[in-house]
Symmetry: C2
Subunit: 559 residues, 2 copies
């Protein structure tokens, strides 16, 4: 036990400066990144890239060993959108035994001092960071992201989001002192009470991962629950298991090394034919549930699980184009936002509202069709070179998205058809360019629901007032994760801020340069507001972490 304590405490000491810097960044919301996003050899070492590739290749076609109860069966549900055969075989979990072992491991884990748990988490993050190249290949070949995006979003950016959640949770746990002497004036002598406050976990956290950003979206909830003393069962999307399997492997490794029970964190792999999410979500031992995925299943979980449920679901993201001083910049920025990872980001804009009489651009009136033309032209320019296009677009993650593209390609109003694009490096990759359709404001059935993937609508409205009204209504009804306004008019900007406030959606203003609305920076940007149907929680705020533990007080009078 002494050894264990020294281990956890030692890790906390080793990493406390990183933690302190993260906490400070949260307070100031200034730029901060603990894990370098540059994939250069100078940062990660000249051999890191090759070693990461080798480590990834060594996984292919092999069983993946984890320390947890299993049925003996294995499954290999993943298929690379780039055409590569993965064939990684994961143990099929014995659900009853898995929940029981998580409960037992969590009971012990919850009694360990806060700093030790935080130390273990920070050490695991440092080790995960050291495996960012292996992780990049794992994310790329499960999600269809380009290598660079998979490296950044699946590696250091996800690690920063995890660190942010750990820092928030540590802050919240540290707000209550461990022991005080409470002294109330009284006669003949003051009342003196010793009070101790102890953080206790809620139970088991079930983290349900998604197919597009398996680490970035799962880490905040799972790390917040882990450091607050809860055991964590990770249920990855069957198409994106490997990134979370590697994560669990690293966490189990640090736990084992420290003499803690490695089954504090376990993996429950399922297949589309034998889904486990509902089964696990309805177990009474599950006290916390973190979910990223479809709205329908997120709504089901919110209603049917007795756990505290934190969701990021789908939204319909809108762009209101009123006027601009930089038409080319606006079009370029939008083209990149629409193309990046083929629109398979929950932050990708879908609906671009443009008044039928056009917009003011650089002080002159630009007809509606020319606004449409500028966006299409910028897309064509961005995607003209096949190698660059492949790097921007990545590959299509799921069959459902491919089908959706085919359906939309056959509908009226198309001004840019989605087409197959060849990836020079991976000839079997399923790559599709973005589709743009012009529709009328009245055609709400077409654009009001989420059309996930490289599908955008330019909606012809009566005027900017109608654009704002429709955008606000959609945020309220269907949810929204991002919003953009392009305007040079102070009054319209104020109305757009009202849209953001009433629709409870984060707003970006006049993006014409390198910042994309898709991007969300740890320690500074809140991802999802939690105030509209796109999700009930935000990454990361105090509400996301403060209810993952409880405080137990002991009062003892002092004679």
């Amino acid at each position: 036990m002494t050894t264990t304590q020294a281990f956890g405490t030692g890790l906390f000491e080793r990493h406390h400066e990183t933690l302190d810097r993260a906490r400070e960044a949260i307070r100031t919301r200034a730029y901060f990144s603990a894990y370098p996003e540059s994939a250069s050899g100078k940062v990660y070492g000249e051999t890191a890239a090759a070693e990461g590739k080798t480590a990834f290749d060594a996984r292919l076609g092999q069983p993946f060993a984890l320390d947890q109860p299993a049925t003996g069966e294995t499954v290999a549900p993943e298929r690379s959108p780039y055409g590569l055969a993965l064939g990684v075989r994961y143990p099929v979990a014995d659900v009853d035994a898995l929940v029981a072992s998580a409960a037992a491991a969590g009971e012990r884990w919850g009694r360990i001092p806060v700093e030790e748990r935080v130390g273990v988490a920070l050490e695991a993050l440092a080790r995960i960071n050291g495996r960012s190249f292996e992780m990049a290949h794992a994310v790329m070949h499960t999600t269809g992201q380009s290598f660079l995006m998979a490296f950044q979003a699946g590696g250091p950016h996800a690690q920063d989001r995890a660190l942010e959640a750990v820092a928030y949770a540590y802050d919240e746990m540290s707000r209550v002192p461990e022991r005080v002497i409470w002294e109330k004036p009284a006669k003949p002598e003051p009342l003196r009470i010793e009070k101790t406050y102890r953080v206790v976990p809620r139970g088991i956290d079930l983290t349900i991962g998604c197919s597009t950003f398996p680490t970035w979206n799962a880490y905040p909830g799972m790390f917040a629950s882990f450091v607050t003393g809860n055991a964590v069962i990770v249920k990855p999307h069957p198409q994106a298991v490997l990134p979370l399997a590697i994560t669990v492997e690293v966490l189990q490794g640090v736990l084992r090394e420290g003499g803690y029970d490695p089954q504090v964190v376990t993996l429950a792999v399922d297949t589309p034919e034998r889904p486990l999410a509902k089964v696990l979500a309805q177990r009474p031992e599950i006290a916390l549930l973190d979910y990223t995925g479809s709205t329908a299943f997120g709504d089901w979980l919110e209603q049917h699980s007795s756990a505290l449920v934190y969701t990021e679901k789908a939204g319909v993201n809108c762009v209101v184009i009123d006027s601009t001083d930089d038409l080319d910049g606006m079009a370029r920025n939008l083209a990149m936002s629409l193309s990046l990872y083929s629109g398979q980001m929950c932050t990708t804009p879908q609906n671009l509202f443009v008044p039928k009489d056009g917009i003011l651009a650089g002080g002159s009136r630009l007809p509606f069709d020319d606004v449409v033309g500028a966006v299409v032209k910028a897309l064509d320019a961005l995607l003209g070179d096949p190698a660059r296009a492949a790097g921007v677009l990545g590959a299509i993650a799921t069959d459902a998205t491919l089908r959706r593209i085919d359906e939309e390609n056959a509908k009226p109003g198309l001004v840019r058809k989605s087409a197959a694009v060849t990836n020079p490096e991976f000839p079997d990759a399923r790559v599709r360019s973005p589709l743009v359709a012009v529709v009328d404001a009245a055609d709400r059935e077409r654009f009001e629901r989420e059309a996930f993937g490289p599908i955008a609508f330019i909606i012809r409205t009566a005027d900017t007032q109608e654009s704002l009204r429709l955008a606000t209504g959609e945020a309220r009804k269907s949810g929204a994760i991002t919003a953009i306004v392009h305007t040079t008019d102070a009054a319209v900007l104020e109305q757009a801020q009202r849209w953001a406030q009433d629709g409870k959606v984060n707003l970006a203003v006049n993006l014409t340069g390198p910042l994309l609305v898709n991007q969300s920076a740890a320690f500074s940007d809140f991802h999802v507001t939690g105030g509209n149907p796109a999700g009930n929680a935000s990454l990361t705020d105090a509400a996301f972490v403060a209810n993952r533990f409880r405080v137990i007080e002991t009062r003892t009078p002092i004679a």
Copy 2:
């Protein structure tokens, strides 16, 4: 608009020192009270007591005017447990119009700067404090509390709990800066983004009050929601309307004076025949719901309302008696805890576990029957003088409790029967002394459910191990709000702390002096842990306030 801003900001300035002291007390959990609990003329002024009585008397038999949509009908559902006719007639709310007006008022209220809202709340609390004598009579004659308890718990202690919630909420809203320039290193030049963060409310809060501590239990939720920008509809218990009606009147007065919409806070009075709680709780406009009351209805609300629901329900509070160095002190302390307000506190102990072979008292073995005898004797001594007994016991609030006492009085194992007690001042008051029954550990049906009121069980167990096991099981199954252990044995104390941790209940150790387990001090004690079935929230922690608002971010690149 300028006048309004000056008003709210002025109030914030006037009260900010009180707020700062409250925030500091929360951080240190040291003793603090903003509103004096002494009812002496020196503190509140020599005429305050008489003026409060006059103000209360003037309410009797009169209509209660509020600024809100009403049907024109009135109801007078209250009856004093002291036998007094109240006859205060409240407007019957037009639910559709009430919800619509709350939504409209809340939309404007949510756009007002945080400090102004906090200023209005603090001013209202100061005015409520000035009416503590009127409030004491209102609480006394609706709940059956003694005058002194009604003054303290219904007045300054409730006001402190409200201030605590305001301070927590202000802390949480202040954690995010209003505006930052975010600068990320990049080539050829850094990326510079202006980011603003704005607090927005969730919607309408529905606060459902209880019959025993109408202000103390309702204030934290309603004031936290109010300062975070939400409109609040208060639905009092039909037996305890007046204290919350006065509260709403004061809040509306400050709002009106400041030029804000007074209908930000409204009252929805119902009767047992025409209940409104379910109707209101299922309205989609209700985004937050604060509830104190029975477990059955609390469970229903948690399952059926789409709002974020914060509950304090019922629990079975246990005392584990293992050994003591101060038998008389222990017995006196328990007698007072059991008698205070006739056991009608959610914090009152119900089940006292004593080993069948007795306990160690002052180093000698004391037989089981003598432990029972000591408790009964202490009750008789405390309640021997009728005037003192009436002051301690108060009166029985509801018919249901009277019936429960009669039923338990007829069951086996009684060692102290509940009897009617005469209140010299109020001959018609319905006062009952505590009942004590000895039961076997096997007789779980008898003691495992809550027996609300002056009903206690002394449970004969095999040994302290069984006592702790049963107490832990009850906290987990039925919930518990308080727990006491009496022991001189360090090993038993450690096991008791495990009981508290596993049952997620706050523990008091060896209470033999003036501190009662029933008491919970604002700024220092967490009331209800939120971790067992007695409630899903705690008064007050960060989790109780942080999800009552959301943050909307705006990002604007800087050229």
